[in-house]
Amino acid sequence: MFDVVANRKWFFIGSAVIIVPGLVFLLLGGLKLGIDFTGGSLWEVQFKQAVAPADAKTILGDNGFGDAQVQTAEGNVLQIRLRELKEGSPQKLALENAFRAKFGDFTQLQLQTVGPTVGTSISQRAILAIAFASIGILCYIAYAFRKAQHPFRFGVCAIIAMIHDVFVLLGIFAILGYFFNIEIDSLFVTAVLTVIGFSVHDTIVVFDRVRENTIRRVASSYEEIVNYSLVQTMVRSLNTSLTVVFTLLALYLFGGETIKNFVLALLIGIVSGTYSSIFNASLLLVVWDHQERDGILRRFRRGPATATA
């Protein structure tokens, strides 16, 4: 039987290898916030022929939008990020006329405008939503595992694994933002919350086994019980993860352009969620159990380790 528990150090290192660079880029400001958070406009227009971004920028500059960013997309489409541009405003009309005069007729694919105050309140709500989700799940796990020996301990370990996944996701998008200018929007927050749900979903299945095996006393030590539970649930964890990854991959490869980054975030999160539920959450249970027994944390007697015992 493969001993996951004995090799736990390596699995924690594995997580660190992903998270640490991510954190570095996060601190470097790699995470590019989209207009949902910062306010401003995203304007997507399709021309009849190819238009060079530089030409478009000149016109934008002439109309007082000198700091606009222009990107090209498939099918003669320009994605323009600029200050708040209101639908039906004179500024927009002037821009449209200038574009028409220079490049011919075009179709507006989409215009998203977010006011600056709305942007900041969305960021706050996003953080609140994630906090609420964590608390809600923590409470539910503590309730579901109330008959187990340390219900709160299960909850905390599940939340740590979940935070792990959130950081993996944030870190990777910080790297993607740093190198490929990929922005995050409110759909990214949706992906984070979904991943939270999935991660805990996965963790609970493993914990459920640990709980059952502890009651049935399948092995003498806690390490063995956890390891046995992990091996028992491994195939299931991988299979479930695989089926979800299959569907998401199909969506990523063949689905619409607009939700590509959303699906990518889900994919990364699901893979991370599976990893953390197998190689982090349950192993943390063992670490916690060890520390309590060995009295390494004796000086934290009134800390969490004993408070929940």
Partner: protein, 493 residues
């Protein structure tokens, strides 16, 4: 009587047929000859059919505040204007205490629409002489015609014909004499033929409006006028007793009443149902304030983008479904095949529920549904893994099936509930952000998870039990490899 597996099977079949009928797009298919029509449609969200989403924020002039009732009145005004834009499924909701969110799927000319929405409402009380005007009539007043008001006036008024079941309400001064509700009018609501109605007072002349009771204790609308306007109103009402007047917003009649007494500062309008009273109070309050609205957030999506995405997403969903089904058969053999059948039923049931609840389908919603396909398999995977374990312990097949389900249930329940908790929070977040996209995702994922619990536990189990009862599928190879002996032993007894 003990329920047999095939009883469940019949139940599932009935459900499947019902779902199929709900999903079937043609409304005229009616196997039982009912005259009842489904009248159900899958609504396409903004990102799929294109359109406009605007978040409007009330910016009242200094010294004034916007409260919930004013905001609701403004919302009603906007809803009436939207009616004139020819959008089939508009969504208009208030958010917090100073924002209104408007979604107009399928809208063709967003520029004009934004202007129409932002227009401040003009409330007038007009004299209509000896005829009570039906609610919904579009008229020209001394302050201008409908074409100046906004695009709502497309020439054809959206008349309701008769002004409510209670008849035309009556206005009277306080203390009021017993009111005589005016006779029902069935006249055609076209008053565009050059007639100009006299505006007596307008929104800014109103000091307040509130629901109150008259002498006989019925709920009525109370209103108060400001200084100079009250004299003007007194002159008008004292000389026009027995005649009619109308409350008009954006040149559209929202209430007509007979004048039963002279009114100076305080008056009441009676003879309406409590609902109508509350609606009119909101209208008067918001009309009195005439709150300017600012666009703080907007999304315009062209129709082409959506149609392309819908096709791609459906293709992607089918590919994903295919791969998952293939994987299940290859890995779990016969139970895998049964799980696949359960998965197809899952898709059928979910779609039926989407249609029944009128879920708005968005791109993210489709993604949520496709994601839930992957997760729906999870319950089956859990059950089969447990079943295999029981078979390894040399339990007979039928026992292994039952134990497999029983042991897997706590994990299935706990894990799915945690997903549902996040869905609920997502829904809340989506409502706040004003993104129907996020709400759609949360709702479809929630329904998906709930239905998947049902299909995995009920449908897959019934299929397996029926198989065992029928004596089919005992061959070990149909369940995968290494526990053949046990399965064979089970088949033997």
């Amino acid at each position: 009587m003990r329920l047999k597996p095939w009883h469940f099977l019949i139940g599932i079949l009935v459900l499947a047929l019902l779902s199929g009928w709900i999903i079937y797009p043609n409304d005229n298919v009616n196997p039982l000859g009912w005259s009842w029509k489904k009248n159900l449609a899958i609504h396409e969200g903004l990102d799929l059919q294109g359109g406009l989403q605007v978040l409007l924020e009330a910016h009242p002039p200094k010294g004034q505040t916007v409260d919930a009732s004013v905001l609701n009145g403004t919302k009603d005004t906007i809803a009436r204007r939207v009616n004139g834009l020819g959008v089939s499924e508009p969504v208009i909701q208030t958010r917090g205490n100073n924002q209104i969110i408007v979604e107009l799927p399928g809208l063709k000319n967003p520029e004009d629409a934004v202007k129409v929405l932002q227009e401040t409402a003009l409330l007038e009380i007009v004299s209509t002489g000896s005829t009570p005007l039906p609610v919904g009539t579009t008229i020209t007043t001394t302050l201008g015609g409908p074409e100046q008001a906004n695009a709502t006036a497309s020439g054809t008024p959206t008349a309701a014909g008769t002004p409510g079941a209670s008849g035309t309400p009556a206005a009277s001064g306080t203390p009021a004499a017993a009111a005589t509700p005016a006779a029902n009018t069935t006249a055609t609501p076209t008053y565009n033929n050059g007639q100009v109605f006299q505006t007596i007072v307008q929104g800014k002349d109103l000091a307040d409006a509130y629901p109150t009771t008259n002498q006989v204790g019925s709920l009525v609308v109370g209103f108060e006028l400001k200084g100079a306007a009250s004299d003007k109103f007194y002159d008008f009402t004292s000389t026009n007793q027995g005649q009619y007047m109308s409350v008009v917003v954006d040149k559209q009649v929202i209430n007509s009443a007979s004048i039963n007494g002279a009114i100076r500062t305080k008056g009441i309008i009676e003879g309406m149902t409590p609902d109508e009273v509350n609606k009119l109070v909101l209208q008067l309050k918001s009309g009195a304030l005439a709150v300017p609205l600012e666009v703080v957030q907007s999304r315009t999506v062209g129709a082409t983008l959506g149609q392309d995405s819908i096709r791609k997403s459906i293709e992607a969903g089918l590919v994903g479904l295919g791969i998952v089904m293939l994987f299940m058969i290859l890995y779990y053999r016969l139970p895998g095949l049964l799980a696949d059948l359960a998965l197809l039923l899952y898709a059928l049931f979910s779609f039926a529920i989407f249609k029944l609840l009128g879920v708005t389908l968005t791109l993210a919603g489709i993604a949520g549904f496709i994601l839930s396909i992957g997760m729906a398999v999870d319950a089956n995977v859990l059950i089969f893994a447990r079943m295999k374990e029981e078979l390894r312990l040399h339990r007979p097949l039928s026992t292994a099936i039952e134990l497999g389900f029983d042991h897997a249930w706590p994990s299935i329940r706990d894990s799915n509930i945690s997903t549902m908790i996040t869905c609920a929070i997502l829904y809340w977040f989506g409502r706040y952000v004003g993104a129907s996209i996020i709400q759609g995702f949360a709702l479809t994922l929630f329904i998906g998870v709930a239905v998947s619990m049902f299909t995995a536990v009920t449908v897959s189990r019934t299929f397996l039990r029926t198989m065992v009862d029928a004596g089919v599928g005992h061959h070990p190879r149909w369940y995968g490899s290494d526990y053949g002996v046990a399965a064979q032993a089970a088949a033997g007894d």
